[in-house]
Symmetry: C2
Subunit: 200 residues, 2 copies
């Protein structure tokens, strides 16, 4: 009916978690707010696509050839955390606990979906390991079957090269009631139980 | 950390219902999808702001001086539905039941919040009524106290001028925003609209 508005709704609908009703609300909000603010969002979208490339070392988004993490003197450059995608890296960064660097795989192995070794940045990781000789490779991958397979695949290769390969602990999420934990998680939490440390 | 990405997240955060976590997910999605698609969204935002103005008759968003509804031969130009904002108009249009035209008030009276008669398009409505001599004025306002007050105010003015003034049937849940009403309820409320009774 109103062509530009409907086109905006269509474009918003392609975003994850945004349905048609939300898209309409967002579109009308973008019409009603000060024009400056709406255009700022448009410019921000253009800018991320035009200014950001990939860090040539870890493949995170970066404005510069080497991303701030890869070029930081305060990060442990010998500890590499392998993650599936940038959003996972940002999750680690938000936790504020990790002081090493990253390697973005670009996915996990999923042969049935055509995601084979050559589709991921595994060769790039192998080259990094040869060049950088890291002390530890942390497999910061998720809990899906494909992620597990990928972790095992990578662990096998790099452990043979004498690299220490670790993965994230499997266990109970913070705040989770025991009765709601699924069986596999509970089994893993039991298998990987740790000694209790307490102040004497 | 990555300036353009953080700026995009900030811009996305200003949208309704988008929190920081959703904003990150959307921002990274906008990086990962084909550049064309991301830029299309940016262009759509720019286009709605640059191409759309207000219809000079009903004040809905329009590309042209007169919106498609106001210039349609298949709509009843003598039946005016007064709504608060464009999103409400689109809710009526989605219901598919209404064949008249609209008048966008731009809000409802709320003296405590500084929304007085002169802040709304009430003078414009009065001019329209003089010029167009509509057969019916439907008050398509929501169920809030301010909306009720506004409906009574408008009913009093225009009924004195001999115009038939109706309002939506009391099928609307108290306090419910019009834009969230489901289509069937809205259709029924439209069908069962009643004459406004007020104390003189």
């Amino acid at each position: 009916m109103i062509q530009p508005l409907e086109e905006l709704v269509e474009a918003l609908c392609t975003l994850p978690t945004i349905g048609r009703k939300s898209a309409w609300r967002l579109a009308l909000h973008l019409m009603e707010r000060p024009e400056q603010d709406a255009l700022k969002l448009a410019e921000s979208i253009v800018r991320v696509r035009q200014k950001l490339t990939r860090c040539k070392r870890c493949y995170n988004y970066s404005e510069t050839e080497l991303c701030p993490i890869c070029s930081s003197a305060s990060r442990d450059q010998k500890q590499i955390c392998v993650v599936e995608k940038p959003v996972d890296l940002f999750a680690f960064e938000r936790s504020g606990r990790y002081r090493g660097v990253y390697h973005i795989l670009g996915g996990v192995l999923s042969p049935l979906n055509g995601i084979t070794v050559d589709k991921l940045r595994i060769n790039e990781l192998s080259m990094r390991i040869i060049n950088e000789q890291p002390g530890e490779l942390i497999l910061g991958l998720g809990g899906s079957a494909d992620a597990e397979t990928t972790a095992l695949y990578l662990a096998r290769i790099y452990r043979q090269q004498g690299i220490r390969v670790t993965r994230l602990a499997r266990g109970l999420p913070v705040g989770m009631e025991l009765e709601y934990v699924d069986q596999i998680t509970l089994s893993q939490a039991l298998n990987e139980r740790t000694d209790v440390h307490y102040e004497s």
